[in-house]
Symmetry: C2
Subunit: 486 residues, 2 copies
């Protein structure tokens, strides 16, 4: 559907940083969620709604495409848009988080290690790790590029590609930076072994062990682990709109916060996406106090809406935003190709990179650059986004069917993880163990918090295409959660 | 010549941990160095020397092969062994180091960064970085394996190869461990992005920021840098026999040493190689006090003698030795494939690996495993060792010809770096800058010491095949060193 978008007018940005068509889509979603528009019903024609809401035809068209991408409606040829079956009566979203306002030494290592280990077992239904199924990845195309560069760049392939790393790859990343509101040059970028190394290097460039880092709550356990003896200050975060800027403002005024680490686009595990307005405010608020912002944008390309959300880096005026990302969620986890644009900290990051792994493997960088250059990426992304949006939607529906009353679940507008709040009586660590006995791996809530909060939350990955096996796993999970004792 | 070795008797190990034939070769070297045997002269026949020294024919044969490999003698068909031209009047070796007995916070970052940066310039003669010329590497064979695995293992290639890492590769490493006196199983091993990541992970597994690590003096700057806020306690080290065990013993008795980090085989920059006896003593001395030993064996396969030196890990009875190595000096720096056998710290190392880079790139590991499996490695190593031994010897001769009086230089029995002590008046940092103006990169001594000692030392890499350009660079270097003011 994204190709259809290209022929439409440019969407109009509203004061609150969202697009008008998104507001229209949200309105329709509310009607569908609330049961006003029921499964199988035809929704108003584009012309009709345009008149009802007094917005342009093109805005409604864009809204409907978005609704389709999100899995709420489907097109019936020659007829119009219809509400998809089973897309109502969904569980509500979790409420914004409210972590206690103090810093915590991070130490959830053992638990994370166990979860990771379980996830490696091929006999287990993999709902724990946020890994896209290789069925969704451009396996043939990318490996063909790899075979080609291995055959044609012998000597270059053998040598260290010292930091800042492969130039062709940095050029490709810089070109794409226009998509997320930046205009990076290849010289702004340092390549890394995936986003994880990028985050590690950036954290070490701006903070020392013992320093306090402000993070979203909940947030990706990798970041907490990576923090190398640093303390995490957890900031309340809204499941749809992201980090609470007022709370962050209070935190940086009252405490010595050395840096801030945020996933503005499709936070893992929340799926929240900050508006442009909030991103701008975040960059300015921290910039004003000279606090570096480490931005993890690994899910940024996996938006379900019509346009790629911007990076907070787009609003960076002082070189204080260290943007980190990779191709591990979009092209090939196993290639381990990531990068960072660390602003004014580039020299330190380059040096830390040299001392951490010397260089990123040469051939994977070359193959990735070739793949990006040859134009397959955008086409692939369109397919991938659509598939993930469907999988996320399918999983939400299954949760609404099979999970006990009182369950809440997020509505991510990108990425492919769901954050599920279970009834208070459910202990997610026990659920994790019981699920593993049934050969299902899930990520228990406490690993997303330095304080090991979120006892009754789990994160589910929607990286696998829908299947009977998956549905059976969700039925089992729901049953286990329902049986949990108070 | 190594193939000839295979038909000889097994060499006899002496009480001091060296082989008898090595002692014979050392004796002859002394005669050549001292001018008793002069260039172009025929040395005693095998039979004659066997009678003179009362050792077996086979021992003398092995000694002469070693001397040939080291570049001291050459065979003339139907005639015998002759002293190579220009192989006498060599500068003496540097004396054992004597660092002051206290711990130092490591901080030579800026200097190391500059040296690395200069080394990346292709217009500069690369004597600074210990990188083997790609002319010496199995470029075609390895890249062919890479193209093959990329075409035939599509899905597997795309996926994370989570720690402990690629199983086929771990099996190959475990097989080779017999060569260095160990008998590892694949389960003992964790793969990494090169030796540098292995060292980082092992350091972090056994020590915290602020802890003190005992190291050789001088030693590889990467290790010092990697130490992540740890302190280095520099131990005197002999240019031929390695770390001074008495001094180490005193240090661990008097100070709180959290771990010891050593390069027993061909220390970088010294080229020293510990005897088996000393390795055993080292492992026992530390084991007795439960102090972990991180062993860097990256140069172990690059021996010039007849047999592969053992790892200290061979004498590890308590799982306290964390052995680290890679294929970056022997097969392909750019593939970034390394590994560690971290003994009882395996769980921590695996976890730290996950949190540092998640996984090592999949395809490079698969290609490397295939290359090792298909048996090309040993053949390649024989050629590589011979080439490096010649290059090292050639460089020593050039130093003896072109460097000022008072210069000392090491006689490494493996690896490919030389540690050069210049007259006291020479400031190696100034020499480094002046050499760079002339487009020659060298590694100044202070980067090999946390205390920035070794002001009048430089390290020269012999990774490049001998050429007029190289000779010209050494003439220039020698001239610059000679002109240095007191």
């Amino acid at each position: 559907m994204a190709s259809k978008m290209n022929t439409m007018n440019q969407p109009t940005l509203q004061d609150d940083g969202t697009y008008l068509y998104e507001q229209v889509a949200d309105k329709m979603t509310t009607l569908i969620d609330g049961g006003t528009l029921r499964p199988g019903e035809r929704i108003p024609s584009v012309r009709k709604l345009s008149g009802q809401l007094r917005v342009s035809i093109s805005t409604v068209q864009q809204a409907y495409v978005l609704l389709e991408d999100r899995g709420f409606v489907e097109v019936r040829p020659q007829s119009g848009f219809y509400v998809r079956l089973r897309s109502r009566n969904l569980p509500p979203e979790p409420k914004p988080s409210s972590p206690s306002p103090s810093a915590t030494k991070v130490g959830v290592a053992d638990l994370v290690a166990k979860v990771f280990e379980a996830a490696r077992n091929p006999n287990v239904v993999p709902l724990a790790t946020a890994i896209p199924s290789s069925d969704l990845l451009p396996t043939k195309q990318l490996n063909r590029q790899m075979a080609w560069v291995a055959r044609h760049n012998g000597r270059e392939a053998m040598n260290y590609d010292f930091p800042p790393g492969n130039e062709a790859l940095r050029r490709q990343v810089a070109r794409r930076s226009l998509d997320w509101g930046c205009s990076l040059s290849p010289d702004d970028i340092v390549t890394t072994c995936g986003t994880m190394e990028a985050l590690n290097l950036c954290l070490r460039a701006v903070a020392k062990p013992g320093d306090t880092i402000a993070v979203e709550s909940p947030t990706f356990y990798g970041i907490l682990q990576a923090s190398l003896g640093m303390k995490a200050f957890e900031i309340p975060t809204h499941p749809r709109h992201g980090i609470d800027l007022d709370a962050l403002d209070r935190a940086i005024k009252k405490n010595k916060i050395k840096a801030c680490l945020v996933i503005p686009n499709f936070n893992n595990p929340l799926g929240s996406c900050m508006s442009d307005k909030n991103k701008k405010q975040l960059a300015e608020m921290l910039g004003h106090r000279e606090i570096p912002l480490i931005e993890d944008d690994i899910y940024g390309d996996l938006y379900f809406g019509a346009t790629r959300p911007k990076a907070a880096k787009a609003f960076d005026k002082r070189g204080l935003v260290l943007l980190c990302s990779s191709f591990s969620k979009t092209i090939a986890p196993g290639y381990r190709v990531g990068w960072t644009a660390p602003g004014r900290f580039k020299a330190q990051v380059e040096h830390l990179k040299t001392m951490n792994t010397v260089a990123t493997a040469t051939l994977p960088q070359m193959a990735m650059a070739k793949f990006l250059e040859n134009g397959g990426y955008d086409r692939h992304l369109r397919r991938l986004r659509k598939a993930l949006a469907m999988q996320v939607q399918r999983m939400i529906l299954a949760i609404s069917q099979y999970f006990p009353e009182g369950t809440r679940v997020t509505r991510p507008a990108g990425g492919f993880v769901l954050w599920v709040e279970l009834p208070k009586r459910v202990d997610s660590l026990e659920l994790y163990r019981k699920a593993l006995d049934k050969k299902i791996s899930i990520a228990p809530g406490p690993i997303f918090s330095a304080k090991q909060k979120y006892q009754n939350f789990i994160r589910l990955s929607c990286g696998q295409p829908w299947s009977d096996r998956l549905e059976q796993a969700l039925i089992t999970l729901g049953r286990l959660a329902g049986k949990a004792q108070g």
